[in-house]
Symmetry: C2
Subunit: 137 residues, 2 copies
């Protein structure tokens, strides 16, 4: 799927067992129709730049709901804020320290080998690989 519409979003939400309300559709649309990884704050700005007024509480509620339901993923690279990533497939991240830009690294060719056994009674939730880069001086 390459083109996202608000109707798409409604279906997508339903498929993830989420009741598609106006606000939820707008927020999902904001996330999926943008390339970049957005912070809660950016989501709110985008959503409120068009007609509808959506409150901060709803933005946070909704993002957390999307997380729970596995619709999006959170990316923790910046100590000051969380980024939300509509791409839930396996992939890694490139974080440009100076600018705060966060981009994807396809997981296809990346191999991680030699990780030790997990402690008993533990299971992996996820593996995050973050390559931090900066502009060469």
């Amino acid at each position: 799927m390459h083109h996202y519409s608000r109707d798409n979003m409604a279906e997508l939400l339903r498929a993830h067992d989420i009741n598609p309300t106006h606000q939820r559709i707008e927020i999902a649309y904001a996330l999926f129709s943008h390339q970049e990884h957005l912070s809660a704050d950016q989501v709110m700005t985008i959503v409120n730049d068009r007609h509808a007024e959506t409150s901060k509480a709803t933005v946070y509620n909704t993002l957390n709901l999307f997380l729970e339901k596995g619709l999006i993923r959170e990316v923790i690279v910046d100590p000051s804020k969380v980024f939300y990533d509509p791409n839930t497939g396996p992939h890694h991240h490139l974080y440009e320290v100076d600018s705060g830009r966060l981009t994807d690294i396809a997981a296809d060719d990346v191999r991680i080998e030699g990780l030790p056994e997990l402690p008993k009674g533990m299971e992996t939730v996820g593996i995050d690989l973050i390559v931090r880069v900066k502009r060469t001086a």
Copy 2:
């Protein structure tokens, strides 16, 4: 070196081009004499449990100074706070999601292969690999 004293710390600080003041020595000692990765808050508690009163501002100033000088490393795994890691050698992290416990993974046997070329004019600052685990239900 397996045993850390405050005298050691003074030397260590000087070796990293940091003027060893009382507060800095205490903070360095707190970090290096503990196994765990500590948050700023925990550092402050530890340092103030003994005699000296050290202010929040100083704790943050000092941790940031240590970071700049490469004495410690910051670990960003929890959206709500930063952890500080006195181990600056190459290694990875295991994060227990439920409890917030953060432990090291030795880098010796771990190989990461197939990372794509960096964009022009970029250089790697660091590669963070975080394995998130939870208790099996």
